[in-house]
């Protein structure tokens, strides 16, 4: 990346990123934009904790508080956690299977830009008449009653970014099915590739119900449809079902790649083969499978009846089994290993007890009668933050340290990394552990304040202090990133020294065509096998050096997404009645989108070739740009 940046001007670099179809650059785009949304979501979290720091606080009004909790949840799930994980999937998975790129480089770019414009659109609601305020679950009975345009921003924004995520999911599935290097059988795939595979399958099957639900919401609010309008025969429970048929697999879409990152870390930093690789793979598949059969445990108190509740309660408890299998396999991977406590490993070790705590409270809530007591209390808030922060966010932070050298060619400071870890880890438990007790004491979720006579002051104050610790941890990480980039000390192929999988057999960052020759995979942990065999060249290759076919960059994905972005504003103001220009904006936007799709379809795009001579020159050290 940096060698390109040095050669080109700023504008040319921007243009390069806008038109790129290279999975490694798209990964950087995902990481930067996901990171920015993570900071925005974190800022919203801080505002929540400031408001709740003392009884009867008037820092935020009740309405603003509703907007902030809604945007905090929506931003963190859709615009921060998932895109950052997609960044790692994009950066690492194609390297792990020895692929030249993903199966559809053009669609990869389209997926990113759709997510990006959807996220921007959603966040513009702050400046254009108010953010959505019906919670991140956007239950229809609340959402339909919500005034202003916040809910419409939510529906349209998430529809656009959801298309982007769906495209990414299909792309990764095809990549893993079709583009594996010779010898890379399914049961030799690294765990991160496996979890990417299963998470992508979940994306494929979980996002359409959400899209359908969002369309119903749009139609109800804008075109007077009656899906959720009870007086017209509608039914708001349909939204809840559609949302959670998406929503529960969504938490596995987040946690499975996190499991994958930790699996890699445990093996690398224990200098051992993963214990029970096969069991870990099957546990991943089982979790993905069961993930679709438990959505109604979010709806125990809706009144679906004892039979439905019992079935969903049992299915939910069953998921604890494959998850438990994973935990024990990780522990047994560490057992007897030659452990090095680098920053990623510290996160991984801290993840186990944190996530288990979240899992245990999850099983508690799976008991339907008990859930009637816990429902809508801070116990739930504590639970899902333990699995999402204790699982996903710790994995994101660990993955950032682990894969930073592969993505940018420099090592983040270990010392600052440890400071980040301790602030974040202590802050996390300080914030959320005590919320279990607040919940048991009766404090409800989503209520903007509490009374001084309710006895929740001290625990809330402690929780807010914890949030401050987490914020300090994140700021140290940002400082770390800046200092590392300024120092710019380049690293080699395998900066951790104990890399086991294919991504550590290639330069950091890799050349834009990835492996000059496709590697031959001789077993699980292929790079480790070559190391143990004393292979000086790093890998055995499956083909002689020859011309490489590469896809052309294109601005079309950006334009397609921009068209959707413009059309959304038209849809937003369409039925106000007093804005005749809205229809024109809607049509122009859709015209741009479909016009550029047609252009893409009709114009041949055959890509270009890198010749053998160029590759040989590249190998001597020099040009990594190639244009």
């Amino acid at each position: 990346m940096s060698s390109i940046a040095q050669k080109k001007g700023f504008g040319a670099t921007i243009w390069d990123f806008m038109t790129t179809v290279d999975h490694k650059k798209i990964a950087i785009l995902y990481l930067i934009s996901g990171g920015i949304f993570f900071l925005i979501g974190g800022l919203e979290a801080m505002l929540i904790r400031v408001q709740l720091a003392k009884a009867g606080n008037d820092f935020l009004s009740a309405g603003t508080y509703n907007e902030i909790i809604t945007m905090h949840g929506t931003t963190m799930i859709f615009l921060a956690a998932m895109p950052i994980l997609l960044a790692f999937m994009n950066a690492i998975m194609p390297l792990q299977i020895g692929a030249r790129d993903v199966a559809f480089p053009f669609l990869n770019s389209l997926g990113f830009w759709l997510f990006f414009f959807g996220g921007i659109f959603l966040n513009l609601s702050w400046f254009m008449g108010g953010a959505p305020d019906a919670g991140w679950t956007n239950y229809a009975s609340l959402a339909l009653a919500s005034e202003g345009k916040g809910i419409d921003f939510y529906s349209l924004g998430l529809t656009i970014s959801g298309f982007g995520t769906l495209i990414a999911g299909i792309n990764f599935l095809v990549t893993i099915i079709n583009m594996r290097a010779p010898g890379m059988t399914y049961m030799r795939m690294p765990l991160f590739t496996w979890t990417t595979f299963v998470a992508s399958a979940l994306i494929l099957l979980a996002f359409p119900p959400l899209t359908v639900g969002l369309f119903f919401m749009v139609f109800d609010r804008m075109f007077d449809a009656n899906f959720f309008a009870v007086e017209m025969g509608g039914n708001t429970i349909i939204w809840e079902h559609l949302f959670w048929i998406f929503g529960h697999p969504e938490v596995y879409i987040l946690i499975l790649p996190a499991f994958g990152i930790f699996s890699e870390i445990f093996a690398i930093f224990s200098r051992k083969r993963l214990f029970g690789y096969t069991a870990l793979v099957f546990a991943t598949i089982l979790i993905g499978f069961y993930g679709f059969m438990v959505w109604a445990h979010h709806m125990f108190t809706v009144g679906l009846g004892p039979t439905a509740n019992a079935v969903f309660a049992l299915a939910t408890m069953i998921i604890a089994v494959p998850t438990g299998i994973k935990i024990f396999n990780w522990l047994l991977t560490i057992w007897g290993g030659n452990i090095s406590f680098s920053v990623p490993m510290i996160y991984a070790v801290a993840f186990i007890p944190s996530f288990v705590a979240g899992g245990v409270t999850g099983v508690m809530q799976a008991i339907a009668p008990l859930d009637y007591q816990l429902h809508d209390s801070y116990f739930i808030v504590a639970h899902f933050h333990y699995v999402i922060v204790g699982g996903v966010v710790l994995a994101i932070l660990a993955g950032t340290h682990l894969y930073w050298p592969k993505m940018f060619g420099t090592m983040l400071s270990e010392k600052l990394g440890k400071w980040t870890f301790w602030f974040f880890f202590i802050g996390f438990h300080l914030t959320f552990f005590i919320q279990h007790f607040l919940g048991l004491m009766g404090m409800p979720r989503r209520v903007y304040t509490f009374g001084a006579d309710q006895g929740w002051d001290l625990f809330n104050a402690i929780s807010s202090v914890g949030a401050l610790f987490m914020a300090i941890g994140v700021i140290i990480l940002l400082v770390n990133v800046v200092l590392t980039s300024i120092k710019n000390e380049r690293v080699g192929n395998d900066p951790w020294g104990d890399g086991r999988t294919l991504e550590w057999a290639i330069a950091s960052p890799p050349p834009f065509y990835n492996f000059a020759q496709t590697p031959l995979v001789r077993g699980l942990d292929s790079v480790w096998i070559e190391k143990m065999d004393g292979n000086k060249k790093g890998m055995i290759f499956a083909e002689p050096l020859g011309d490489i076919h590469m896809p052309n960059g294109s601005i079309i994905p950006f334009v397609i997404s921009l068209g959707m972005f413009i059309a959304s504003f038209g849809a937003l103001y369409f039925l106000d009645g007093d804005k005749p220009w809205a229809l024109a904006v809607l049509i122009i936007g859709l015209g741009i989108t479909f016009g550029s799709m047609l252009l893409r379809s009709l114009k041949d795009d055959l890509g270009f070739h890198i010749t053998k001579a160029e590759l040989l020159e590249d190998a001597k050290g020099g040009n990594t740009d190639g244009h």
């Binding site: 792309n171 079709n178 359409p208 359908v212 559609l242």
Partner: protein
């Protein structure tokens, strides 16, 4: 892949749609997209069934009294036939007979357009009866389910037409063969969805 390479029926591969890496990727990717489409329609069907005949008190329309089966039966036959003609088109595509493929695709497009015309007539007819989109939960669910299918038909027709016009002069090659194949796969999917709509919406609707 050389786009200018000329093929004869003898040198043309048996499965041109998956003969290149791009073709293989598109083939798998498109089947996966159809999986996502299946879930989309499953959600729409479930919603329709939940909201069937539901409306404000005193609602005038119910499924049993509204649907007109003869028209819908004719639409069904036309769409099913168009699926058959698209199979003929793909048969000729695999035999590298470009003109015959174009001709059968042309017939497919005509049948599809007829279907779409009849669907628009049907909707227009219902609206004139007073069964509008905003009347009841039932009407919203009906128009959304069947209309989403209609939008898919429209997209499929546009796709066929764009491919036929774009490649009219240059014939079949390894670059566009997967495109023709996928468009026809999409057309079959639309057809299968309609079979379910005919059964679940219309037949079960008339039974009551």
């Amino acid at each position: 892949m050389d786009i200018n390479q000329k093929y004869t029926p003898q040198s043309w591969p048996e499965h041109p749609e998956t003969a290149t890496m791009e073709g293989k990727n598109k083939f798998i990717g498109f089947w996966l997209l159809l999986a996502a489409e299946t879930v989309t329609f499953a959600s729409l069907f479930a919603t329709y069934l939940a909201l069937k005949d539901k409306g404000p008190s005193g609602m005038e329309f119910s499924a049993a009294g509204l649907y007109e089966l003869p028209l819908v039966f004719a639409m069904t036959m036309i769409l099913l036939t168009s699926s058959l003609t698209s199979v003929y088109a793909m048969y000729h595509m695999k035999n590298h007979n470009f003109k015959a493929m174009q001709a059968w695709l042309g017939i497919t497009v005509l049948l599809g357009a007829t279907f779409l015309g009849l669907e628009i007539y049907e909707f227009n007819h219902y609206v004139h009866l007073g069964f509008g989109y905003t009347n009841s939960a039932f009407s919203s669910a009906f128009y959304t389910l069947v209309g989403t299918h209609g939008a898919h038909v429209l997209f499929g027709l546009s796709w066929f037409i764009a491919l036929m016009l774009r490649n009219a002069k240059r014939g079949l090659n390894m670059y566009n063969a997967p495109k023709f194949y996928l468009a026809s796969l999409y057309w079959h999917f639309i057809d299968v969805v309609w079979v379910f709509i005919f059964t679940v919406v219309y037949l079960m609707g008339v039974i009551g």
